[in-house]
């Protein structure tokens, strides 16, 4: 009898996909994993969090993306079959890790992780290794299979080539999200010739490398990554929505800690407020649930919580200015006092947001072994770091672009009495 790990569906299943055209599934294990409640939950977590408030098309989910990463890895492995350095015994492990790599993402992951000091990777591990449907399926492959999948996702698996397919500077994860995010946001950058990259990928002892003849396709990929970071991921309006979202969570937590009586008991949030989030609590809190609470909290008596929730729901976001914490330190301190004087709580309504608060990563050559760079395989079989050969990549990977923005509710300031000296001074600092 055929073992579960080798079982194939009697007929191949396909998912229609706007980025890869079709996602193909033939392995019974993959089909079963897709059907688990933990994987289906990813339909209710958006891939780009609050970005839909800036780019209205960006409603795609982590479910879409996870299938996409699986499909890319599947295609890479078709190309790797029978090549030196590749052990096809690792195929199913790669496919499962690709499919499940984002399983632990919660609603609006980034803000939740920051405010409640959580780590989605911990939850991915807990879902793969805990008392879940996913674990039951992985166990049917072999006793040690759940741990192997967790190790690959955690990047601590001993075969680094396997890890590098899903997590490296040119991996299936990035190749999917760049194209998918470009498609759903509707921006024209973010596209690159993935088919070409897949054709020139070669397995080496502990990493995937790119045949030197494919350098220009990789340049395009690096450029699209660069463009997407600045045009989509770092968009100041999205950052404004993130600022408000974080402040809602901070405020709700603060109120809970100070025995505030919520009109609607925040049942789904209690373990988050208490700092003891169990797996079941985590899985139950998806984005529709969070948005339901925001709508209910809009009617709360607490004026700060209510106002922030109305802002988020109605996209009535904070305005922003460029801010230099070095040159404008005194002004910031003065603004802080002025906001207090006029009754606008600066802790919630005067927020400095730095580019490092959204840690999307740029291509870095890894000059001192901080992280592994992209290597090109030369005709003489030597490896060369990408930016040493590509002027395009060299010019953007060395470029440091960081910024800080100051977010504030301009409508609140405008609503202050016209004869208010504080109002005049706030405007002067912000806009002169």
């Amino acid at each position: 009898m055929m073992s579960y790990k080798d079982e194939q569906l009697s007929e191949e299943k396909v998912f229609k996909d706007p980025v890869h055209r079709y996602v193909h599934v033939k392995d019974q294990v993959i089909w079963d994993l897709i059907g688990t409640p933990e994987f289906q939950r990813l339909r209710r977590v958006k891939q780009l969090g609050t970005t839909y408030l800036t780019f209205h098309g960006a409603e795609h989910s982590r479910f879409n993306h996870s299938l996409g990463v699986y499909e890319i890895v599947r295609r890479i492995l078709l190309n790797f079959e029978n090549r030196p350095n590749w052990n096809n015994e690792e195929r199913l492990l790669c496919l499962c890790a690709a499919l499940l790599h984002d399983l632990g993402h919660g609603p609006f992951s980034h803000s939740f992780e920051k405010v409640f000091k959580l780590d989605h990777e911990d939850f991915t591990r807990k879902i793969v290794l805990g008392d879940t449907h996913v674990k039951q399926i992985l166990l049917k492959v072999s006793d040690d299979f759940p741990q192997k999948v967790a190790d690959v996702i955690n990047k601590t698996y001993e075969d680094k080539l396997v890890v590098s397919l899903i997590s490296s500077q040119i991996d299936a994860d990035r190749m999917d999200y760049l194209q998918r995010d470009a498609y759903f946001t509707g921006v024209s950058y973010g596209h690159f010739d993935m088919e070409r990259i897949l054709r020139v990928m070669r397995p080496m002892e502990d990493q995937v490398v790119i045949k030197a003849s494919g350098m220009h396709a990789v340049e395009d990929y690096i450029m699209s990554r660069y463009q997407m970071y600045w045009q989509v991921y770092f968009h100041p309006v999205t950052r404004s929505a993130e600022v408000i979202l974080s402040k809602i969570l901070h405020r709700a937590k603060y109120l809970y800690e100070n025995n505030y009586e919520f009109a609607l008991k925040p049942t789904h949030f209690l373990s988050f407020f208490k700092g003891d989030v169990k797996l079941d609590d985590y899985i139950r809190l998806d984005e529709p649930v969070v948005l339901y609470y925001f709508q209910m909290w809009a009617d709360e008596e607490d004026s700060i919580l209510s106002d922030l929730c109305v802002r988020f729901s109605n996209r009535h976001l904070f305005k922003y200015i460029e801010f230099n914490p070095n040159l404008q330190m005194q002004e910031w301190m003065e603004l802080y006092s002025l906001f207090k004087d006029v009754g606008i709580d600066p802790e919630y309504y005067l927020v400095v947001d730095s580019s490092s608060d959204l840690p999307y990563d740029f291509y870095r050559p890894g000059e001192e072994e901080e992280r592994l760079p992209i290597h090109l395989l030369m005709p003489n079989q030597e490896l060369q770091e990408l930016s040493r050969l590509s002027d395009v990549v060299e010019s953007i990977s060395g470029k440091k672009r960081t910024d800080h923005k100051l977010y504030f509710p301009q409508d609140f300031i405008e609503a202050l009495p016209d004869d208010s000296k504080e109002k005049a001074r706030i405007f002067e600092i912000l806009f002169n």
């Binding site: 070095n326 001192e368 992280r371 592994l372």
Partner: protein, 169 residues
């Protein structure tokens, strides 16, 4: 008062205490090891090819350089580049306005500065697996760090170093 750039200020405290840091890899591992010693840095780390690495830390250090709070000097070595970091007078001014409070870490920093980045890579990787037993940690090191060829003596030195760190300030 609500703290402006609190996480940046914490890093500045580190640069103040360390005088000068040579090497990005060393910087990455030192902050990770301090985090594991309960110094409340908030940069998020993930496991990478060369051990724990934080993109957030890399970005924040870039921001500190761009703001003029720390200086970065790039030096060409035989087949790679090396970076040196030091606090500037503007950085000191910034820190004077800050009320961020961190536990004392001077002795820990001094201990780490004496060590190579290769050794700190070993120590930080061992600490990354600190939920495992000693034997499991050593097996994991041999599995994920094959190319670094750490021998028994290196491992023992790293265990002793970790014990030392825990009692230092």
């Amino acid at each position: 008062m609500f703290e402006l750039l609190a996480n940046h200020a914490k890093l500045m405290k580190f640069f103040l205490a360390s005088d000068e840091i040579t090497g990005r890899k060393k910087l990455q591992k030192m902050i990770y090891i301090l985090k594991k010693c309960e110094i409340p840095f908030e940069e998020k780390y993930e496991f990478h090819f060369y051990g724990p690495y934080s993109e957030e830390l890399t970005l924040r250090v870039e921001e500190l350089c761009n703001l003029g709070f720390i200086s970065e000097v790039k030096e060409k070595k035989s087949n790679y580049f090396q970076y040196r970091y030091k606090m500037t007078s503007q950085g000191e001014d910034f820190l004077n306005h800050s009320q961020v409070d961190l536990p004392v870490m001077d002795e820990k920093i001094a201990l780490m500065k004496e060590k190579s980045s290769r050794f700190l890579e070993l120590v930080s990787t061992m600490l990354y697996f600190d939920h495992l037993s000693k034997q499991e940690v050593e097996e994991k090191i041999q599995a994920v760090k094959k190319k670094q060829n750490y021998n028994e003596q290196d491992l023992q030195e790293a265990w002793d170093f970790i014990s030392d760190l825990k009692v230092k300030h």
